[in-house]
Amino acid sequence: MSRTTLVLLVTTGCLWASIPADAQTADVERGYITAAADFLGAGSGFTDEIHPIDFGEAATVAGSYQVKFAPGFAVGGGARVWRRLALGVEAGRVSHGNTADVSAQVPHPFFFNKPRAVTGSASGLDRAELAVHVIASWVAPVADRWQLSVGGGPSWITVDQAVISDVTVTQTYPYDTATFAGAVTRKASKGHVGVNAGVEAAYLLRPRAALAFGARFSHAHVPLTDTASTDAGGLHATAGLRLRF
């Protein structure tokens, strides 16, 4: 889902807020739980440069990682703590297989300081983000069936990412050139504190059930490995069911 789609979705929800009310009420609930589909828009990529030992010498392997749109799910809940102020927690997980452009300087098997340049692409670099958001929100009924909330707070975002640890090459004697054959990967997992902010529109189907549509921006800068860090989070769109108490 593109960012444009997310904006349309949120805009549509806001427009629906102006539909005349019927018998339902959109008063602020005392508490709620939500289960929703979660879509994270494509994020900014990151780069990495490592120096594994190949043929008795340090290689240079540089990866330029892409971070694509990632689907997932989110669950959460909260309670009204004062007038229209609610405090909630939301946990979500999104994942996707990403790719990386790889360029490497692979040492020569016979000579020092005569690296061979290879380039290629590594795919299937699975990335998953597990985020826990604490959200303080201000909730306002905007029509009989519509409720709008705006809020934000701190987040803890963990990134599980397949990162390139070396490359494999095809080469034949005299080994003065080599071609990229593939990437050797390993799992890296790190978490970091971040922030979130977003809006949510709820359409009451029944007094205790509503459809919830949200747009949330979250961000954390996660030091994934000793040599690479990545921006986690981004613009999320959620759509799901809310049970109200």
């Binding site: 016979f110 000579f111 005299p174």
Partner: protein
């Protein structure tokens, strides 16, 4: 589980299959993976394994206690068909006090495969060795069932020693055809330190938890043998009396090589292979990736002061090549131990002879020569000097190919053997200025019958002049070289000459013509390369011969041992007959003897047959000589008891045009 039981029944029923069934059968593997997550399946599999163990279709290979979980036991169980092991048919079973915990493995339904082999185990052992071009090694081959992509084969599995590689192979149990093979070794790249403290990479193999100096990355097997100072074993290996054994191959425990002699020898031999490949597109010493045995540590350095001069000169302060020696009888190079830190020469550190890249390449070039021009000439011929000269040329050229130019250690220069000593350049020969190292820079300074290394600098100096240009110090003739940036041209001219144009009886005059022809072949008539080569030969005084000549080695020393049929004193005389610009056929020759007053005391007339008999030391071995080549002889003479006098040889011949020609040696004095 039902499928597993069915397969087990199939396996059990194989015993009833006739032994006459096919040696290749279709079938399929059945993977097993049962744990307590499915107790029913686990119990069924467990029961069937017990049943097969009782019937002999499965046999327990080992049972070990779990070192991490008390009470757990692990069995490894192999599958057999009528007593023949199935390769890859094996199971692991983990048990606890309360029963089986897990089962993993594969059982093969091998179909109607006969388990009666057509070959005996002894025949299979021979077939395995033959299939991998090696020698039988290890225990008797094992009869097995081998699953391959096309079905199940009855095969023998055994081991052979191929060079220094240990090869495991499966051959068909009926035909002996090779089905599969794999090396015990795994290619690796190690790191080591050379004699000058420089870090190098070594292409080696991993074997048995250690690393051996056997190059698995280059097309030719380059193996460095560490004789560990055992001179007797070294001699036996060189003389092909004793085969090398795997423990002779130089090894290192952690692939961080610390034996600097081994490091330099192994690395530089590989670089020489690379030089031949990259510069001349040549596949090793024989252009067919001949194995390259390199031998180091033939003696122990701590014994240097107890060795006779012969051993000192050959195995400490020397490196040498032998074209018919070594592990396969097809050549080996041996590098002397040196004499470090003044051990022999005060104030001089003589490095191990593998420390100098140009020396290693020099010795290996002798192997190229022995596989091409075969310039293993008699002492009195020029072929020996040419042999050494070409080795110097490509020794130095290899250094220029890999090292920066300069006069310091680990730098390329025109001083062959510069890095053998500290201070540098105390051994070896200068190609740029041969007189500076006491060697000739002009053909007129050659000494017939002298050390071929000495006479070789006429050739290597011509090579130098053709590249760098300059003025010959003796002739004062100048040469316009092609320039260092174009050294490749002259290297290719000389390499083409050596490997394609030169016969074994080559002379300086012939090489002149051959190099000029090679320059024309490669770069065209009138090219800079042809001009440079021609001027270089002019400068060092080597010209085409126009007329036939003959020469006796002057001032021969008297010998008392060269013939039992002659009166003493006797003289062993080196004599050379050189054809001019035409082929030559000797029709008659004479030997005249004079007493100390000059009076003739004997006149012997000899035939062409006699010529072929006497002049077999170099040349054609007949009375017919190729233009520009020599025939050589060492003739034992006597003055019938006279203690002084002189002798002279005269020759009658016809040239290619049928014209009669006569020529003679100078009269040579014979003094007791």
């Amino acid at each position: 589980m039902r499928r597993f039981i069915g397969i087990v029944l199939d396996v059990c029923s194989f015993a009833a299959v006739s032994a006459a069934a096919a040696a290749l059968a279709q079938g399929h593997p059945v993977p097993l993976a049962s744990t307590r997550s499915d107790l029913t399946a686990l119990r069924a599999a467990d029961g069937q394994i017990d049943q097969m163990l009782r019937s002999g279709d499965l046999r327990t290979r080992e049972t070990v206690r779990d070192t991490l979980l008390p009470g757990r036991v692990h069995e490894r169980i192999d599958q057999y068909v009528r007593g023949v092991r199935v390769v890859g048919g094996d199971i692991t079973r983990q048990t606890a006090a309360d029963g089986t915990v897990s089962i993993f493995g594969t059982i093969h339904d091998v179909g109607a495969l006969s388990t009666t082999p057509g070959l005996s185990a002894d025949a299979a052992r021979t077939a395995i060795a033959s299939a991998v071009s090696g020698e039988p090694s290890g225990a008797a081959p094992e009869l097995v069932v081998l699953p391959l992509s096309d079905g199940y084969h009855l095969a023998y599995f055994g081991r052979a020693l191929a060079g220094t590689d240990i090869v495991n192979a499966y051959v068909d149990a009926n035909s002996g055809a090779l089905l599969q093979q794999f090396s015990e070794f795994i290619n690796e790249v190690g790191v080591g330190i050379g004699a000058y403290g420089d870090q190098k990479k070594l292409s080696v193999k991993a074997s048995g938890g250690a690393f051996v100096a056997d190059d698995g990355l280059r097309p030719a097997a380059i193996t460095t043998y560490d004789m560990k100072g055992d001179l007797t074993h070294t001699l036996n290996v060189l003389n092909v009396v004793t085969p090398v054994v795997p423990s002779d191959v130089a090894s290192d425990a952690d692939n961080n090589w610390t034996d600097r002699t081994v490091v330099d020898a192994h690395v530089y031999a590989g670089w020489y292979y690379d030089y031949l490949s990259k510069r001349f597109s040549r596949n090793g010493l024989d252009n067919n990736n001949l194995r390259m045995p390199v031998i180091v540590h033939p003696v122990r350095i701590e014994d240097i002061n107890r060795q006779p001069l012969s051993v000192l000169g050959q195995y400490y302060l020397n490196a040498f090549s032998c074209g018919t020696c070594g592990p396969n009888g097809r050549g080996a190079v041996v590098f002397g131990e040196g004499a470090p830190n003044g051990a022999y020469y005060p104030g001089i550190d003589v490095k191990p002879f593998s420390a100098a890249l140009d020396v290693v390449a020099h010795e290996l070039t002798h192997q190229v020569t022995s596989n091409t021009a075969r310039l293993n000439g008699f002492t009195f011929s020029e072929a020996g000097a040419l042999n050494e000269g070409f080795s110097d040329i490509f020794g130095v050229s290899t250094a220029f190919f890999f090292l920066p130019a300069g006069n310091g250690p680990m730098q390329a220069s025109y001083f062959q053997g510069k890095d053998l000593t500290v201070p540098s350049g105390l051994f070896g020969r200068s190609m740029a200025n041969p007189q500076s190292s006491g060697d000739p820079d002009h053909y007129s300074q050659r000494i017939i019958g002298f050390d071929p290394h000495y006479n070789s600098t006429i050739l290597s100096h011509a090579f130098y002049l053709a590249i760098e240009g300059g003025t010959n110090r003796t002739s004062r003739l100048s040469v316009q070289g092609v320039g260092a940036a174009n050294r490749e041209q002259i290297e290719k001219v000389f390499f083409r000459t050596l490997t394609s144009l030169m016969p074994s009886s080559s002379t300086y005059a012939l090489v002149r013509g051959a190099t000029i022809q090679a320059a024309r072949d490669l770069y065209g008539g009138g090219s800079a390369a042809e001009r440079a080569v021609t001027q270089a030969w002019d400068a060092v005084g080597v010209q085409d011969r126009t007329v036939p000549t003959a020469a006796m080695l002057p001032n021969p020393s008297p010998s008392t041992t060269c013939s039992a049929n002659l009166a003493s004193p006797q003289w062993l005389i080196g004599m050379t007959v050189s054809a001019g610009n035409s082929n030559l056929r000797i029709t008659q020759w004479t030997l005249d003897f004079y007493d100390h007053t000059g009076k003739q005391i004997e006149h012997d007339t000899l035939t062409p047959t006699n010529f072929a008999q006497f002049f077999g030391s170099c040349g054609p071995g007949s009375a017919s000589l190729l233009a520009q080549t020599d025939a050589c002889s060492a003739i034992c003479l006597s003055l019938n008891g006279e203690t002084s006098g002189s002798t002279q040889a005269s020759f009658q011949a016809v040239d290619a045009a049928g014209q009669a020609v006569t020529f003679a040696t100078a009269r040579v004095a014979l003094q007791r």
